[in-house]
Amino acid sequence: MAKAPRLDNHPQVITANHLATGDVVYLTRVASWSRDIGEATVAPNVQAGAALLAVAQAQAKMNIVIDPYLIPVDTSVSPPRPIQFRERIRAQGPTTAGRTSDAAREDRHVSV
């Protein structure tokens, strides 16, 4: 079995789902939430991310978002690119082709 790569030392952002809409959202620099990962606040590593996670969890308690968690990102590109494939799909929407999928990708990159 291949070992999962160690991701703790990568820069991190916080993601969650918005409670009322279900949208994938990211914690921003002003402690609000955006659907655009480009607006996310970036912590240099998991340790630094812990403080951000505390902010996010407080917002989960206030019923703004559900289940926030840290994800590793590559900040050498803009906007930051999630390292994990699953998170890239969450950030960008379904990768499928077709009319229905085009409809699925509409209406992104709007702050909530």
Binding site: A2, K3, A4, P5, N17, L19, A20, T21, G22, D23, V24, A60, M62, N63, I66, D67, I83, Q84, F85, R86, I89, R90, G93, P94, T95, T96, A97, G98, R99, T100, S101, A103, A104, E106, D107
Partner: protein
């Protein structure tokens, strides 16, 4: 078709009112996510990768045109203009907002629909043959029994918190189109030596992490005993099924661990105790339910092929191609069953736009007594079309890109939503299905290959039924990269079998080539009219394995 009575309607409306209140309390913070999650799941509302997903129950895959229009309207009003038909004969909306979910459920209730029994550890929506009431080989319409099971199982207090979910499938035909041997309980209608119709009861089938073909627990069950016997099985499962390990909680594990004989003994003992209880179905009740499924007013037409159909078949190549694959024999002379492929090249398997749903509802009204069915292979069916109308129906479908002539062929792929939508998936299914379909786009070749069931699951939960695909494909995550493990020789029909693992998993690019190589290997090996599955059963795994891995 079954029409709600006042009680059905009241139950569904009360449920909507309860859920509206629960959502309000969740949004205000009165309910925590932990408190709310089981409540939303009991109403079919999941949180998926990108958004909430609403799974709408389509009991035994039967829809009226009015209901399909209702679904189209919900797709436009609350979602992004489309829906996804699933291997459970249900419909999923992928982009529902929590704050609007109660309104969507209220709109569903207006067309006698709901999202109950589509999640949670209860008896789920019962599935059946999509050709029910129309198939030429049918003994009796299985929907009568599906509806009886629905009425018994909905909110059954004893079975609302089972060790795990529970799925029942029914076939009324010896040619199983409902995959009854891979369900928790499969019911197969047949005649005994005295000529009476009853059920073979199969228990402990299932796919997922630990697949099993179900075992026959009773060869013949009289119809009036159906609910007592189901209750006996469920009661034994509820008592003895494991609750300590979610992966070992399905009834298939219980049957496997204690053996079918011990299971039968326990069930029969329970059955003997409750057989003559209120669960015994009076003839009158059966007749009342059966009346809802009375055949539509068919015209008396001569047997044989209608001249209009024969003429179009001879003169229009494209129509002929479609008619060969997408129509099936009807029990009523002069009629045919039409399968509408939702597997157009370039579109995700099982997706239909609201516009297409509206069009199908209109076509059903005009040509099929307003009835539509959903298949577990993620297609739709017009069950009762006059043969003479087939050319017109084909043209009407074609106008909405719904006349892909590929039912049962290599591009008619079952694919779960996979990692593009599903929070549980390890790999994507839909893009792979789309690439494979493209590879088999040449109709001449596809029709030459003939019946080939390719089924793709994006994780071990096997929503894409990969274990029972002639070629099964399971997505796995290898250190962050998508790989696909192939199985061969699976089948979900009356000769049900689990596929054999071909070898080490392949990456996505190699997978598409490998499918092609498997098909070429079959074409070289086949004798006469053998299907892929027949050839595989004759020659076994080895030649296919060599074709894929020898060069590596």
């Amino acid at each position: 078709m079954y029409q709600y009575d006042q009680l059905d309607q009241r139950i569904v409306e009360e449920r909507v009112a309860q859920f509206s209140d629960q959502v309000k309390r969740r949004l205000s913070g009165e309910l925590s996510e932990d408190e709310f999650k089981p409540l939303r799941l009991q109403n079919g509302l999941y949180l998926q990768l990108h958004a909430y997903m609403l799974r709408v129950a389509i009991p035994y895959g039967t829809l009226s045109s009015k209901q399909l229009r209702g679904l189209a309207q919900i797709a436009c009003k609350y979602d992004r203009g489309w829906g996804h038909f699933t291997t459970r004969q249900n419909l999923q909306f992928n982009w529902i907002r929590l704050e609007q979910a109660p309104d969507a459920l209220a709109d569903l209730a207006r067309v006698q629909m709901h999202a109950i029994q589509t999640s949670g550890n209860c008896i789920r929506n019962t599935t059946t043959d999509q050709f029910a009431g129309a198939a030429h080989d049918e003994i009796e319409d299985p929907r009568v029994w599906c509806e009886i099971i629905r009425q018994w199982s909905t909110f059954h207090p004893e079975f609302s918190f089972l060790p795990r979910k529970f799925k029942i499938a029914v076939t009324g035909s010896p040619n199983d189109r409902a995959a009854v041997r891979v369900h928790d309980i499969g019911l197969r209608m047949h005649r005994n030596d005295a000529g009476e119709v009853g059920f073979e009861v199969i228990v402990g089938g299932g796919l997922g992490r630990t697949p099993f073909i179900g075992k026959t627990i009773r060869d013949f069950l009289p119809k009036q005993d159906l609910l007592s016997y189901l209750e006996a099985i469920l009661r034994v499962y509820n008592l003895f099924g494991r609750r300590d390990n979610m992966f070992k909680a399905r009834i298939k594990i219980l049957v496997h661990e204690i053996g079918i004989e011990a299971m039968r003994e326990k069930v029969e003992a329970e059955f003997a105790a409750i057989r003559d209880s209120a669960l015994r179905l009076p003839e009158e009740t059966i007749a009342q339910i059966a009346a809802h499924f009375a055949p539509p007013p068919f015209e008396a037409l001569p047997a044989g092929i209608a001249p209009e159909y024969a003429q179009a078949f001879r003169t229009d190549f494209d129509f002929g191609l479609w008619a060969r694959r997408n129509t099936a024999r009807h029990k009523q002379p002069g009629y045919a069953i039409v399968t509408i492929s939702l597997k157009k090249e370039g579109e995700p398997p099982g997706d239909a736009s609201a516009e297409q749903m509206q069009a199908i509802a209109d076509i059903a009204d005009r040509y099929s007594f307003g009835e539509i069915r959903v298949t577990h292979e993620q297609n739709l069916v017009l069950p009762h079309v006059k043969q003479a109308d087939l050319p017109e129906v084909w043209r009407a479908l074609k106008a909405y890109e719904l006349a892909t002539p590929n039912v049962g062929l290599a591009s008619d792929i079952i694919a779960c939503p996979g990692l593009d939508y599903c929070a549980l998936a390890n790999a994507r299914s839909i893009p792979l299905a789309q690439q494979i379909a493209r590879r088999f786009r040449n109709w001449e070749r596809a029709h030459d290959i003939g019946e080939l069931k390719i089924k793709i699951s994006g994780c071990i939960n096997a929503c894409g039924h990969h274990h029972v695909g002639h070629i099964g494909i399971l997505g796995v995550d290898k250190a962050g990269e998508e790989f696909y493990q192939l199985t061969l020789g699976g089948s979900a029909d009356d000769s049900a079998a689990l596929g054999d693992i071909l070898g080490p998993a392949l990456n996505q690019a190699r997978t598409v080539d490998a499918i092609d190589t498997l098909v070429e290997t079959y074409l070289q090996l086949r004798r006469g009219n053998e299907r892929f599955l027949d050839t595989y059963r004759r020659v076994g795994l080895q030649p296919f394995k060599e074709a894929i891995y020898a060069a590596a």
